[in-house]
Symmetry: C2
Subunit: 311 residues, 2 copies
């Protein structure tokens, strides 16, 4: 390290752990990633995992740590509660929970909850939103945050006015592994957003979301009748689930025509490619914001607010 870290920032999800050491200028000095998410940490110990990553970088014993994500869930490290919708994003910064009896100052950011007839929760995405928001946009913005439980979030100025989670990523996983479709997708190769079967499925599911669980079944019948190969089968399953999600994310009170800006896609890597291809195929205007950068920027803003001037 050329300069000293001012704090550590951690994005602690259900199945992933990411840590950055950041200096007072906001520069990333070190980065580490692992699969030690909440599920692993609940058994191995949150403190043990965090400290092992910090000591690998010889981080000082008094380095403060700011955390977002599932570490703040009820079944996580320390429950960090929720800020309720309508939720002003800056309120997230000031509601962090303190990890008690730790040798260093460790804070966990709260999630956001939507109570009422469409109950919903997020943990981690609120921090991405903090880092991704464009303060210059005054009106309504619609954010799409793909993942295990994709979030579609409506932001009015700096206030989250509503959101919806879609089980897209998890459904792809459990259907691929545990349903009869496991035979159809077995040994599937990689595919990207240009795969014609993926794009056709995006359009079908977006146009006919009510047929989604039927379109999913055509992964199997397509294999039986049309010789659909394993990679095509995986592409059809993925395209169907993503197409239905986009239809749902924009349904009802969420129509694009009410929005004042293109959809903001917060994504990186493979999901960025698939969702960009999907939006293009559906002729939906969008801008992409890198998800890793967004969460890091959000954590940095939180650190400045929580730990004050030294960070």
């Amino acid at each position: 390290m050329t300069t000293s870290p001012a704090y550590a920032a951690v994005d602690w999800g259900t199945s992933s752990f990411r840590l950055w050491l950041i200096d007072t200028e906001g520069q990333v000095l070190e980065e580490s990633r692992s699969s030690e998410g909440m599920t692993t940490a609940a058994k191995a110990g949150f403190s043990t995992i965090l400290e092992s990553h910090l000591s690998a970088f010889s981080a000082p014993d008094d380095l403060p740590v700011i955390i977002c994500g599932m570490a703040g869930a009820r079944q996580g490290w320390v429950e960090a509660g929720y800020v309720d919708v309508p939720a002003a994003l800056p309120a997230v910064l000031t509601a962090a929970a303190v990890v008690p009896d730790a040798k260093r100052d460790i804070r966990i950011l709260p999630g956001i909850a939507q109570r009422g007839t469409a109950p919903d929760v997020m943990r981690g995405e609120e921090t991405q939103l903090l880092g991704a928001r464009d303060g210059s946009v005054i009106g309504e913005q619609l954010f799409c945050m793909p993942g295990t439980h994709s979030k579609w979030v409506r932001l009015s100025g700096e206030t989250v006015t509503g959101f919806a989670s879609f089980m897209t990523g998890e459904l792809f996983d459990v259907i691929s592994k545990n349903s009869i479709l496991q035979h159809a997708v077995k040994d599937a190769g990689d595919f990207d957003g240009s795969h014609p079967v993926f794009l056709a499925a995006i359009k079908s599911a977006f146009d006919h979301p009510a047929r989604a669980t039927n379109l999913v079944f055509t992964v199997r019948s397509g294999q039986l009748l049309d010789g659909l190969d394993a990679t095509g089968a995986a592409a059809r399953l993925s395209g169907t689930l993503i197409g239905a999600e986009i239809a749902g994310g924009m349904a009802d009170g969420w129509q694009r025509k009410e929005l004042d800006a293109p959809i903001k896609l917060i994504a990186s890597g493979r999901l960025q490619d698939l969702y960009e291809a999907a939006f293009d195929a559906l002729n939906l205007p969008f801008n992409t914001i890198d998800a890793d950068e967004a969460v890091r920027r959000g954590l940095s803003q939180a650190a400045k607010t929580v730990f004050g001037g030294n960070t």
Copy 2:
């Protein structure tokens, strides 16, 4: 047995096996049920399982056997092929496959395939349709056949003109067991079609099918935020999947307004109760036909055609 059996009729599904011994008058003399479906039989041997059920009833060695269902699939006992849509139901009767090298005459009925842009397959349901059809109806009828892979079938006279499979039952199973929702539905008690959470979910998913995978997620968020109990969680998951299926079954070219008769629900037991409650809640006219009776009547018709006068 008071009279001698003329044949055995078998409905051999993916996960269930049902056998009836039937006399020349069409009366059921014996019945046996087990969970030795195709999956079990592929390992234990189809012949072994069939003969063990027959010998338990001291059935004669030359008793012929008519079979429908997954025993005729590629991964089943003997592949019985498909009759293609548009498929006249009587054509199913004459396309049975013969099991070679068996000590008795064993025939397996073919399925029905829909080729083209909406590939789909059924095995077993064609035999239920044979037993459930009402020859007096000339126009279009819509059949709903709930199950692991629910079928919605359009019949014009005696011809299947199109159908769609929905993965409702299997999705309920894999989501309940393998997704994050397993925690919400753990130790759920029984619920029936009158459960208010089930009925509310039916209406939500039917009205907003594009939000189905979001509504599924509210099983979890409802537990976190509203204290939804495990039975309510299972009822919400079930109602969401069934409501979305009904929306999809009636979508696009399948609207009830084009039909000349109420929806025909072919079901029995628990699924009958849930789907009847769903149709009532949605104000959709329907008649119920018992699924067990339908498949037995269909197998009896097949036996008469295949084995001739003695049956």
